[in-house]
């Protein structure tokens, strides 16, 4: 007890050094975001001035309006929201059902099928990208939201994650539900699913982040700017010299903002979820 106290007091006394290092680091980490916001409110000349303009002469909020006039921003934002919502919902439903079956039901070929699904996790996405593209092309879905969404509705990782969650649950609850006459779905829905809620939120967070930020796949299946999600739209904007810096910055701020707001609102859950999901 006294040892702990002593250590606590000693530690608190010398935390100043830790604060200096951590705060300096935090400034470096946050600077690009701050600079992006400042640039988004500056004039094009101010962004390119030497020495840099640390604070614009006046805050040009009209840059944000320009984003909607000059770029197909609204279309792209709508695509981003649509693909993210559809993929998250689909993965939550499909991966949870499949993960549950793989963890707690008996059926022929279970081991083999599970091995096949998990084998996908070992393979980098380039290995299936080419022929996913051909499939989408064959369906006539290039440059459509459906084409971007489709493969990502299914996830081997999500299945693995949910299976792990269900594997760790006690048998007794399930057995009791069965004895009470619940069928397999009722047992899953009423008894087991509520217990998996923390893992469900991890899966939802990871799918949302991935879907919102992903670049390569949408870049490949959508070539028209108005059909792209924001990630691809911003990346291809760079080559367009006619678009001015502050407008690109404003568009970027708007693209980051929704995830940022979500993150700040759910920060504990996001951080703990992502930090521990891989460790168990």
């Amino acid at each position: 007890m006294s040892t702990a106290n002593r250590r606590g007091r000693r530690a608190r006394g010398s935390n100043v050094g830790a604060h200096i290092v951590l705060a300096a680091g935090a400034v470096v980490m946050a600077f690009p975001f701050v600079w992006q916001i400042i640039s988004s409110l500056s004039s094009n000349a101010e962004v390119q001035s030497v020495p840099p303009t640390f604070w614009p002469e006046r805050l040009r909020w009209e840059n944000y309006a320009e984003v909607f006039h000059r770029l197909p921003f609204l279309d792209q934002a709508l695509t981003s929201v649509t693909i993210t919502v559809l993929r998250t919902v689909a993965q939550l439903v499909l991966c949870t059902l499949a993960g549950y079956a793989f963890a707690r039901m008996r059926f022929r070929g279970r081991g083999l099928l599970l091995a096949l699904v998990l084998s996908i996790l070992m393979v980098p996405s380039q290995v299936y990208l080419l022929s996913q593209y051909q499939l989408i092309q064959g369906f006539g879905l290039l440059n459509t939201t459906a084409g971007i969404v489709l493969p990502g509705l299914f996830s081997a990782f999500g299945t693995f994650l949910m299976r792990t969650a269900f594997l760790g649950m006690p048998d007794e609850l399930e057995e009791a539900a069965r004895l009470d006459g619940a069928n397999a779905f009722q047992t899953f829905w009423r008894v087991m699913l509520p217990l998996a809620r923390p893992t469900l939120s991890v899966l939802a967070i990871m799918t949302t982040l991935w879907s919102w930020n992903e670049l390569l796949w949408p870049l490949v299946v959508s070539t028209r700017a108005d059909k792209m999600p924001l990630s691809a739209g911003l990346a291809t904007l760079v080559s367009d010299r006619t678009i001015q810096y502050p407008i690109v910055m404003a568009a970027s701020v708007l693209a980051i903002a929704p995830i940022l707001v979500l993150f700040v609102a759910l920060q504990r859950r996001v951080i703990d979820g992502l930090a521990t999901s891989g460790l168990k």
Partner: protein, 316 residues
């Protein structure tokens, strides 16, 4: 970006913990139910993942023009690839990028140990600030990094000039491009590593530090003798994930350089090489061969890490 690598890396741990089926005592029959549960996912995974993987293996053995059909050419794509300087340049660039991002690990260990000081105030504020770059859209943050790195009016060269250093054109000078992109990669993955380490530090029993303190060990000594060894499992996990994500470099490079940058051929990564051959040059057979080589390199890198792990990872 990193999240998808995390998905892949978790597969490595899947085998360890996941072999426990066949639980005893529940010898019931589930009839058609399991098929309703797994059916939809299996159909989708087969159509969009398993079949494409098999197809890519076949593609890599064919020549596929834009207009004419496919022609079986055996291993010609692979022999051509192994003789292609672009493969080695993009591999070297990718490895350099990965090495730079790996530098986030020692930094993160140190910062996490500061973050876990007992009674540290504002710890959650720090966590949020360091974690922001990890969740922010890479192509959106790339836009501001382009401005910061600008050779004429960028903030980086402005700061360097204050110290009397004349900074280069970071984005358009071949030797500097990957370094510039690597620093952004380091910036964006630091927070994740830190959070994992902070979680790992919580598992170290405080009695160890108390005992060390009674023995008169300094903070630096405690860090080296207790913190680092007991954190090695987390360090190993993060380094596996960081390497897998590093080998997948594409988003940041593509967005920071811009698709029309004349420096891209000299600064491209493996995945950019794949993208260029498959979707700009439209040489799908060749791109399939590149994809398989990326797969092999990633597998090899992960295997080596798991092998070497035994020598330095402290097992509890």
């Amino acid at each position: 970006m990193a999240a998808s690598a995390q998905r892949t890396a978790v597969a490595g741990t899947a085998r360890k913990g996941g072999a426990g089926h066949g639980r005893s005592g529940s010898l019931r029959r589930d009839g058609f139910w399991p098929w309703l549960f797994v059916g939809p996912l299996l159909v989708g995974v087969t159509v969009f993942f398993l079949w494409p993987i098999a197809q890519t293996a076949y593609f890599s053995l064919t020549h596929r023009g834009v207009f004419e059909g496919a022609e079986f050419i055996g291993f010609a794509n692979f022999t051509r690839l192994l003789a292609d300087p672009a493969l080695y340049r993009s591999l070297a660039n990718t490895l350099l990028y990965t090495a730079i991002v790996l530098a986030s690990i020692p930094i993160a260990v140190y910062l996490a140990s500061l973050l876990n000081r007992p009674g540290l105030r504002f710890a959650s504020v720090y966590r949020v600030l360091y974690f922001l770059p990890y969740i922010a859209m890479p192509t959106a943050v790339a836009m501001v990094w382009r401005v910061i790195y600008n050779g004429d009016f960028g903030m980086l060269n402005y700061v360097l000039r204050l110290f009397g250093v004349d900074g280069p054109y970071w984005i358009s000078t071949p030797g500097y491009t990957i370094v510039a992109v690597g620093l952004v990669g380091l910036w964006s993955s630091l927070g994740f590593a830190m959070i994992v380490f902070a979680a790992g530090l919580k598992n170290i029993p405080p009695e160890l530090y108390e005992a060390a303190e009674l023995d008169g060990a300094t903070r630096g000594r405690q860090f080296r003798a207790i913190t680092v060894p007991l954190l090695t499992p987390s360090i190993f996990f993060v380094s596996v994930i960081t390497v897998i994500a590093g080998l997948q470099l594409f988003d940041l490079l593509f967005a920071i350089l811009g698709s029309a940058n004349p420096m891209l051929p000299k600064s491209m990564s493996l995945v950019y090489f794949f993208y260029r051959e498959g979707f700009i040059q439209n040489d799908k057979g060749y791109a399939a061969a590149i994809a398989i080589v990326i797969f092999a390199i990633t597998g090899l890198a992960t295997l080596v890490q798991f092998r070497v792990q035994r020598r330095w990872v402290h097992s509890a």
